[in-house]
């Protein structure tokens, strides 16, 4: 599969970041190393108070740097989409890394399957030294193997899908991606999960999911309850206003 299988320069890559100076450079380098070059890279700084702005500007990666008052990851992703020009969206969290062929593989799928709305891949977790005890504890666990990546950082989606379904729910601080994927699925969007590992997800001492696990559980229950009610009524989720 080569870049000639797909049309270049269609993807807006959006990198939301809050106090992510430690790993942002690696994340940006993994976008710059894509064999399929995106149309643009947009870093949305969500009110950082660390060296995020400097790391972005000194990364050597051509990008647009946007800053907003701290409003959370979903708000930053939505802001990046509003300010973007591409026909497709892709996202990368500032502590993770893309596989070098991620966009090549996924954009080829949109050529091969014109009806495709959303492309996803698998995720491989990796652990930083400060959480090495967790890596050891989870050796052989399913979280140490490639995991289906229903997460923004593996996603490539047509702009029209977000136009149709609406953006991420900015008021949700956790679980907003699951909510969006659920909305997409219930709406009948054409979703393809590739077997390829397209994202390396870094686990470290400050992952949001660690801090928010209890809160996210409460939000999952609300999500599931709404989904169950809609399944009983056979009533798809309504789109959010843009």
């Amino acid at each position: 599969m080569t870049t000639s299988d797909s049309i270049p320069g269609l993807v807006s890559c959006i990198v939301p970041v809050h106090n992510g100076a430690r790993f942002l450079g690696e994340a940006l380098a993994s976008i710059a190393a894509q064999r399929y070059q995106p149309r643009e890279i947009i870093v949305v700084d969500d009110g950082s108070t660390d060296d995020t702005a400097r790391v972005a500007s000194e990364s050597g990666v051509p990008l647009r740097y946007l800053r907003q008052e701290q409003s959370g990851g979903p708000s930053a992703r939505n802001h990046g989409m509003r300010m973007s020009r591409g026909s497709f969206f892709a996202f990368l969290d500032a502590d993770d890394r893309w596989h070098p062929d991620k966009l090549t593989i996924q954009m080829a799928r949109f050529v091969a399957r014109p009806e495709l709305d959303i492309s996803l891949g698998h995720v491989q977790n990796f652990w930083m030294p400060e959480v090495d005890a967790e890596r050891i504890k989870l050796a052989g666990h399913r979280r140490a193997a490639p995991i289906p990546g229903y997460t923004a950082s593996t996603l490539v989606a047509r702009r029209e899908v977000f136009d149709r379904l609406g953006p991420f729910k900015a008021e949700m601080k956790h679980g907003e991606q699951t909510e969006w994927f659920l909305r997409a699925r219930e709406s009948g969007a054409e979703i393809e999960l590739l077997p390829d590992v397209l994202l390396e997800r870094r686990l470290h001492g400050d992952n949001v999911s660690r801090h928010k696990a209890e809160a996210s559980l409460a939000q999952y229950f609300e999500l599931l309850r709404g989904h169950i009610e809609r399944v009983r009524r056979n009533d798809p989720v309504p789109p959010l206003p843009p």
Binding site: F23, V131, R143, I147, P148, R210, A218
Partner: protein
């Protein structure tokens, strides 16, 4: 084998549940399958999770709904058997059985045999980032709410 004398515990690292408006939603965090237990099933779940035997629960629900306790007990054995098959219940862990559950309001006091509804359509959506505080090892985190996006 499940009998009326059986007691159970909920494996807390693998199973999360919450009761909302008389319906209990249970998530198996290991495989992403989730379940609904409305009505009497929700009351039964809460009583089972409290460590009571099925016979004790049958007596409570029999008194609440005016249904013969052997009928309730048979329904509970069937329900508990399903819950064990789905790995939602494990051995009794010596839970505190103190405290009564509030009675449902009179308008709701119609007995219907507990029915476990399973939903297997979101396992892949929940696979990557299950809300599993019990599984994740926490190396002395500061507990900041101002964490990086990631």
């Amino acid at each position: 084998m499940v009998t009326v004398e059986s007691r159970f515990g909920v494996p807390s690292e693998e199973i999360a549940y919450k009761t909302l408006d008389g319906e209990t939603i249970i998530i198996n965090l290991v495989n992403g399958v989730y379940y609904s237990l409305p009505g009497v099933g929700s009351e039964a779940w809460e009583l089972i999770a409290s460590g009571r035997s099925l016979a004790e629960i049958a007596a409570i629900l029999s008194a609440r709904y005016g249904i013969p306790s052997d009928v309730v007990a048979a329904d509970l054995v069937r329900l508990a058997d399903q819950l064990v098959t789905e790995n939602l219940l494990g051995p009794d862990s010596g839970s505190d059985t103190a405290g009564e559950l509030p009675l449902p309001s009179p308008a709701e006091r119609v007995y219907q045999a507990p029915a476990l509804q399973a939903y297997r359509d979101m396992a892949d959506l929940l696979a990557l980032d299950p809300p599993t505080p019990g599984i994740v090892f926490r190396p002395g985190l500061a507990g900041s709410t101002d964490a990086p996006i990631g």
